[in-house]
Amino acid sequence: METIPLSYYLVLSGILFVCGVLGFLIKRNIITIFMSIELMLNGVNLSFVAFAAQWHLMGHKDALSGQVFVFFVMVVAAAEAAVGLAIIIAVYRTRETLNVDQVNLLKL
């Protein structure tokens, strides 16, 4: 059976992570910035699963822990999304804007 190198998965996960970082830096809408964070978490999840596959092939006993970590990352991401979006709603209510450049109370 044909195989493909595991590093392809790692490169894909790196590309996704870099896209997330880029969106976090260049986007001005607070909701889009939050979505970029989710994109970064997804890239990390892919590398977790890829390394779990590597460990499984190397014959480690508890190689499936990587997938359990992905499960926990998803739980934390769900909690983070709920609280973060509530914070965004609260920010919109007080500042009447979603542009991060206009949320500048802490700037000198």
């Binding site: 059976m1 909701i31 779990a52 590597q54 359990v68 926990f72 769900a78």
Partner: protein, 188 residues
Amino acid sequence: MLHLILFLFFGTICVAGAINLLAQSHPIDSALSLIVVMASLAAEYLLLGAEFVAAVQVIVYAGAIMVLFVITIMLLNAGKEERTKGSRVAILLGVPGVVIGAVLVAWTLLFRANTSAVTLGALPGGPQEIARLLFHQFLLPFEITSVLILIAIMGAVVLASRPDAVAKRHHTDTPKAMPELVGAGKEH
């Protein structure tokens, strides 16, 4: 061969969705392309054999979390974002820096890293194996996440409820509520 074709197909969709997320200026377009990214990532997990993770990815990420995002965009009536001018130095130095870094990391991973090769469905990732790990070895973290979710629900309710609603509830509960609290609530 089949594995490589499927990997490249879903990987291309994934990267195209991620770039489209950056290119779109309206948040709802970004949200929809993020759903595309998550769905094709679920296919990538399935190719590795992680069935449970793929199912949870679709249900939790592409389903629940993205519904939260879309509802928030709808609720706040978010429009197109305004373009702000970035600094020229950042573009001139940053873009070549990112390209050089990406090429270096990709080259190292592809040709110098000691990673093995995988076949289609290499991992035993069904719900049975995951559940055995989750309820034996990772039982304490699993229970702690339930507390985390509870705290997150309470935090979301407290943060998203209107300030004057909180003040009004306080007012009806105790007839002699603090007048400054009710007054402060009416300002918003």
